[in-house]
């Protein structure tokens, strides 16, 4: 069964890897030059310094100029990033939708489901292997993307949770790719023909993505800023959000700002003292 799955999908796997390799060949040089420029312009230091509240006006101007130059040169890549969001949908279209639909459309389900292994095992092995391969690919893709978009995100003064960049990196592509594949398998099982299944997968994926983006995300709980004094050495008790306290032993009390996790929250970290006694867990 494993051999059969490999034999059936090896060509597809080859083209997928080829596609990913081509993508890597295109993006890695861009990413490298982007990173070089980023460090040549000294933007890494800038990002750190600008986070500080009492940064000098001169530094701010230099840094802003640097970010502008970087933005002029690489800002258009944000459009490429938008295109990259569609990759999970493609995986769903070409790996998920034909998985069952192609067998039924070609009639080969009548051959393979009447062999001794039975169709339950067929489904388990097939979905398991294809799902596993997709997870590995998506993880690679997510890691690569995290590396690639990092300078762009910093230059745009956006955090990990910024629009679009959130959907590109880390475990998010894995989740969306698995979702697209599962949707494809479902559509292929219900509609039994490849083309309609692919169309429905695409429509369903775009629909769900748009619904999350437009309807759900704006309604996530908004950031809460709480300011309160800290007394003593121990960390304050906070019901939401994590506070890792770095309270200086000598100061009697100092204020600390905590923000609850939120996407696209642009909470300014307002620290009352230059020593920043608190680091905030899930804010930028």
């Amino acid at each position: 069964m494993i051999w059969l799955t490999w034999r059936q999908h090896r060509k597809q796997a080859f083209y997928t890897l080829l596609g990913l390799a081509a993508l890597a060949a295109l993006l890695v040089p861009i990413g490298l030059s982007m990173r070089n420029t980023f460090s040549d312009l000294g933007l890494a230091d800038c990002a750190r310094q600008l986070a500080d509240a009492n940064v000098t006006a001169a530094t701010r101007d230099t840094c802003d100029a640097g970010f502008r130059r970087f933005g002029n040169r690489y800002g258009s890549l944000n459009l490429v990033a938008v295109l990259l969001i569609t990759l999970p949908a493609l995986v769903g279209l070409f790996w998920g939708a034909p998985l069952v639909a192609r067998e039924v459309e070609h009639g080969t389900h009548r051959f393979v489901w009447t062999q001794g292994v039975g169709r339950t095992r067929w489904a388990l092995v097939k979905f398991g292997l294809v799902g596993g391969a997709v997870v590995v690919l998506a993880a690679l893709y997510g890691l690569g993307m995290s590396w690639w978009v990092d300078p762009l995100t910093k230059a745009a003064h956006e955090g990990r949770l910024g629009m679009i960049v959130f959907d590109l990196q880390g475990i998010v592509p894995i989740g969306y790719t698995l979702f697209a594949v599962a949707l494809g398998v479902f559509a292929g099982t219900v509609w039994k023909r490849m083309l309609p299944a692919m169309g429905i997968t695409l429509a369903g994926y775009v629909g769900v993505r748009a619904a999350v983006e437009i309807l759900a995300r704006p309604r996530y709980q908004s950031a809460r800023t709480q300011t309160f004094p800290i007394e003593g050495d121990g960390p304050p008790e906070v019901s939401r959000g994590r506070v890792s306290s770095g309270v200086n032993g000598t100061s009697s009390w100092t204020a600390c700002t905590v923000s609850a996790p939120r996407r696209r929250s642009a909470v300014a970290s307002t620290f009352p003292t230059s020593r920043s006694p608190c680091r905030i867990g899930n804010a930028k």
């Binding site: 051999w3 059969l4 001794g116």
Partner: protein, 296 residues
Amino acid sequence: MDMVLEADRLGKRYGSTWALRDCSLHLPAGRIAALVGPNGAGKSTLLHLAVGLLKPDAGAVRVFGRSPYGDTQGLADIGFVAQDTPLYRDFTAAELVFAGGKLNRRWDAALARTRLAQLGIPPDRPVGKLSGGQRAQVALALALAKQPRLLLLDEPVASLDPLARREFLQSLMGSVADSGTTVLLSSHLLADLERVCDYLIVLNAAQVQLAGAVDDLVAAHRQLVGPRHDGGVIGGVAAVVRASHTDRQSTLLVRTDGPVTDPAWTVRDVSLEDVVLAYLADGAVQTSHSEWGVAA
């Protein structure tokens, strides 16, 4: 007698149309059975139910006493060659034999290879590029390599030319003759199967019209020619299957339950084809009349 396939008021519905309805039949072991009926009569549906690809909507089907739907263990005993012999077209014959070994616990790869070698089928060409006859032979070899106790073939020769038909059936008979495998072949043409089968099931308009051993069926039917018949009882006749009349004369195809001794009737023996056609013609006309909404 040992029954291989039993159906008890079996029914399968697609939407609101019954593809098979109230189908009751028993297939004894060791028979080569022909399942004959026009296109759309429910032959494929019956075979798919028997191999567990479909779930019955009514009644029950049992193969070797087990319900085949969802029964993985029972699948090992059933060889199935589906209509148009679907195979992975980009696989070579050798790869298909190898895949079969991976998909079945009991698998005689040597048997499949020997068969395919004897038939001159190239092992390294994608089966999609083989001729229809060769592809059918590959599918048959794969089904036989399972060493099934019941072999189901759905229209195995429909897409083959007459020569390939004969070769296919000959090689099929050669390979099941010794093993005692029960075979059920379907076709819309009796002529295809008449020479090889010893048991006959006639399916028409979703129902079993006739089932039995070929010799019994031929022995139990007679053609009577005599004066115009108006539906009265004739001695020795159990049922009139089909009647055609002219002004003065009637020709009846009847099922007998004894010798017809009435001197008014000339009794003739019938061929298997006469019997089958009589049963098929009957069903087809009834459905069509009711569907068009006109009186029969």
